[in-house]
Symmetry: C2
Subunit: 411 residues, 2 copies
Amino acid sequence: MKKENCIVAQSGGPTAAINASLAGVIDGVRKSGSFTRIYGSLHGITGVLENNMMDMSLMALSHFPMLNTLELTPAMYLGSCRYKLPDYTEDPAPYKQIFERFEEYGISAFFYIGGNDSMDTVLKLSNYAKSIQSDVKIIGVPKTIDNDLFATDHTPGFGSAAKYVASTVLEIAHDAYIYKIPAVIIIEIMGRDAGWLTASSALARTTYSQAPDLIYLPEVAFSKEQFLADVKDKLTKQKTVIVAVSEGIHDADGNYISSDSAVADKFGHAQLSGAGKALEYLVRDEIGVKVRSIELNVLQRCAGHIASRTDITESFSLGQAAVKYAAEGKTGIMAAIERISNDPYQWVIKSADVADIANEAKSVPVEWINEAGNDVTDEMIDYLRPLIIGEVSLQYKDGLPVYLPVDHLLH
Amino acid sequence: MKKENCIVAQSGGPTAAINASLAGVIDGVRKSGSFTRIYGSLHGITGVLENNMMDMSLMALSHFPMLNTLELTPAMYLGSCRYKLPDYTEDPAPYKQIFERFEEYGISAFFYIGGNDSMDTVLKLSNYAKSIQSDVKIIGVPKTIDNDLFATDHTPGFGSAAKYVASTVLEIAHDAYIYKIPAVIIIEIMGRDAGWLTASSALARTTYSQAPDLIYLPEVAFSKEQFLADVKDKLTKQKTVIVAVSEGIHDADGNYISSDSAVADKFGHAQLSGAGKALEYLVRDEIGVKVRSIELNVLQRCAGHIASRTDITESFSLGQAAVKYAAEGKTGIMAAIERISNDPYQWVIKSADVADIANEAKSVPVEWINEAGNDVTDEMIDYLRPLIIGEVSLQYKDGLPVYLPVDHLLH
């Protein structure tokens, strides 16, 4: 079979924008004319291994009406996996299987939308391809709400998660301000190793509300004593103190704050409480004011109804660019965003060597955290602000957001 | 001073629509021409007691530009309180104080927006007014996300909370379906005594997703054994089981499921885990599949960005009607909604005797719960559906929803 088809797959954790990149790849295929068919591999690279693929060529037809619905559908239309390829010099079996499948389906390009781990797959597959003189192009498209990928100014999915976090913190502030008694609200935000998403809570600040009053990122060693002093100090000036805290905060020895507050249930099993819950208990026991912790949980990565238009547009464009790069003969690269300016916000897409990205995590730079380690700087806010701008025009039916059906993932 | 002014106040827990009722009262005052000034009592009736009031007459001027922003601002613009008036035959002091304040401000009508407890205040104040031959009109406007007030078909604030719950459950389902391994997701929803809001999770069902697969309300005695059997049965047919559970589920003896799973922290303090967390541990220990619990927490009552247009419109209209009732000389009543039909959805506003409402809670009728006690009936869904229809046209600035500033509540 003549090599003229391509495969796209998704991997890692969900975001509100990863299907926008999928829609971008499909649109790129439609416009490029370089591919006859496009297949979606279900559950990441495991779909290639297990021959679990769906023909998506219909979606690449001109003006496929549902592409806009796919663009705005949260989580992963093609499903996900947490599969790590072995080193091919030690275990070439899965590589042989994958490239045999590529041959079988006439594949000349494989697009993988994902985070650090997925870029590891892109790197390994492209290296293996070189080693066997295969001309299949292996291209990565970034995504992660954690915003921790190198070589790209920021990651698709992050802006939508940041918009959810900021909007939600503002709404929680309105909810909290109504009572007269002193209260502390602790909001736990995703990001085990990188504090980007927790930092984005600072975007909730308005002319009338300074919430969150305190922000703790995993990039700074967390001190319970300092935290209690910070909260007490705020309580001398205001009745409501709203704290944003990363799930990954840890002390100077690297111990998660959550695990230090391990609780045991009635069967004696250790239960790991999250950082927010641990700090709730700490404030209750040590300060004694009314306190509530709120874990934003998976909602921050799947709330398609409040996605950032900027994020969706960028994610779509990166998918389109990946197809262009493949058509140009590139491989072992990831489509990435380069920021030209903050105000006006301008960006371009570039190609980045995936070897510089795979398996590495980009932390928040220390100069974007204040000296006290309990807030972020204006430079951080200037960086974050453009990413949450704009709203999506979601359709609603019977009061519910309209998303693309995912029946194929249910069994 | 001639009696020609009025006071409005808010009490109880926040909702996304209680400020719509406040905007409705203000608009009613503007249109009626019956009042010269309108005062907002801060923190419910305690603002009257403590002379902590703001003059809102400016907002009642023709075409005050921010009334629409107030309508869509979540939580309570005037702040809240949890104050219960004593029996006036035993302790008339606060009543005297309140009616002296009414005299001082030239008040002829007091509008109280709230739930069961607030209607208790309306009842007591109107009874006291009669006892002293005062002609101050005391009018209630309902609100509660719990939907547990008698004499009204449903309560303002409930529809918006239900829309948030349904949309969020659908998005969580998209998030959950992406993996291939079996998993159970437990979503804990507000409603300690009444299951209306948990029932509204059923509105998340679409042509492709039947989530939530199981629904447990506090109106049915909860059996852990039956719950485990239900989940196991679902897991034989599908890989992802999504469960909606009320925070108030309890066993046949009335013990909350949460308290039965009390955990102790390292200091030996008893920690009450919520119902969702308790069931998460139960599934993990007894079934052993991947399991996650998600507490929707305060977001379900303060997410103004996904309010129901139907709910906001009704809440506004009830506020307007309250003013009309006062002008007509009514007192000791609450503006209420009467449903004419489900399809097309039609409703009218009526006046209800507050004595029939105060301190009573309306449960979900047993005939709207299925026989197995793990789902709701089609009649329930037909009742709920119209309440979440329609979206609000919220303004955004710098990526954030624009709400009315609440500086006055901050100190």
